[in-house]
Subunit: 276 residues, 2 copies
Amino acid sequence: VSAGPATEDTSVLGRLVALLDLERVEVDIFRGANPGSSPGRVFGGQVAAQALRAAGATVDADHRAHSLHSYFLRPGRPGVPIVYRVERIRDGRSFTTRRVVAIQHGEAIFNLDASFQRDEEGLDHEIAAPGGVPDPESLDRRDARGWHHGPMDERDVPDPVAPGDGRRVARQVWVRAAGTLPDDPALHACVTAYLSDMGPTGHPHLERVPREAFMNASLDHAMWFHRAARADEWLLYTIEPVSTSGGRGLAWGTMHTRAGRLAVVMSQEVLLRTRR
Amino acid sequence: VSAGPATEDTSVLGRLVALLDLERVEVDIFRGANPGSSPGRVFGGQVAAQALRAAGATVDADHRAHSLHSYFLRPGRPGVPIVYRVERIRDGRSFTTRRVVAIQHGEAIFNLDASFQRDEEGLDHEIAAPGGVPDPESLDRRDARGWHHGPMDERDVPDPVAPGDGRRVARQVWVRAAGTLPDDPALHACVTAYLSDMGPTGHPHLERVPREAFMNASLDHAMWFHRAARADEWLLYTIEPVSTSGGRGLAWGTMHTRAGRLAVVMSQEVLLRTRR
């Protein structure tokens, strides 16, 4: 731990890496540290990342996460360790599936299903990367707006363009870990899960009305890992709001590597309730 | 049961409705009929629809399904009834969540998490419906290619256009139940789940190589129900392949009502393995 902007980044990133270093209480039970500094509730990306870490710890190293589906059930409480109970749904030759329930004070706050696959060759196709996007080096780093943005270097892209066609209105950000991560592909997937939780950002109404007018919370979060990517190298994260109705907002997103490969697809539904 | 094309449709649809009329073995255990006529394996859309039906049967009528996330674990066997075991994850004032495990011969073949919400008002936004699509009446009904397409009236749209921008290559079909369904919104959601499972259709490689060259199976399936829609009225189902790699293909899809409202969003990952 030392002072100064550059080393501060490293230190904050080190705290995230430490959050993903779970304590193994039993073969299929893990405990995740959960610092108490964040006000309100635990950042959903942290819970998703820890849960994916727990699931992966019960899977052979030659199987990698290719998808996850999760629901947020109750707000996580800062300062209370989170226990992750893993259920071994299926162990197959090609595919392995796990269920994880995240628990605080005896209550499930989150659950996640994840599927892991042994690497195999196959056909290759992807939605085209957005074109004409400025390099991250030419954009300013966003001010960290709280602990959970601290470990990430995020650069908002002006005039965002969608993958595939380049026309849709979308929110877009270059993002990477603010420092170098260990060479562990499973860790990189977990950090990608962490940074993928952008909450209600990008939903059109939020751009037009004060943030305080909304009560929001993540409802679900899904990810598909298509191609290996390092979370400490730039990922172009494009988020497209799809629908808002009934107090809920759905967005989907894509993460392309700097080389233009589609690394991750995500979907997230959030509560977007107007305060009365 | 009677002969002739029009009444045959009704009869086949009646069989689908009967599949969704589950036997309640215990409060949270249901048994679904599973006819043995289909060769190979059970149609995934049937299992998803029955599982959603089971989940909904344990939820207060004023909560409606707004999302589901599911994994296909093992191929379902035709001719063997499927038992659906429901776990009550959470009962909340606004949101209720359920977990369903589908079982045959003691093995889980499928699991599903679903979230139900009490209707509430809120802001409204949606990705724009595809424009310039021909009316379903002007298109030919696709030949039923097996039992699981029988209950549906499907009309392939030539030159498909994507929602939002109208440029992406996509697969598009007008689809509705081939007859009138009872006025039960939960049943309509289940039939929508049934018809949403299009498997690997739309993935670009499949258009170019013989279908026999691929081994395919659904891996996961997710849906978000944004606005109430009848499954016996036309839905414009647009499917966009997003990525193919590692033997897997991900597509997302949208269903717009004829009035241009976004009713459903879905995602599906399928195994797309080339036969050796």
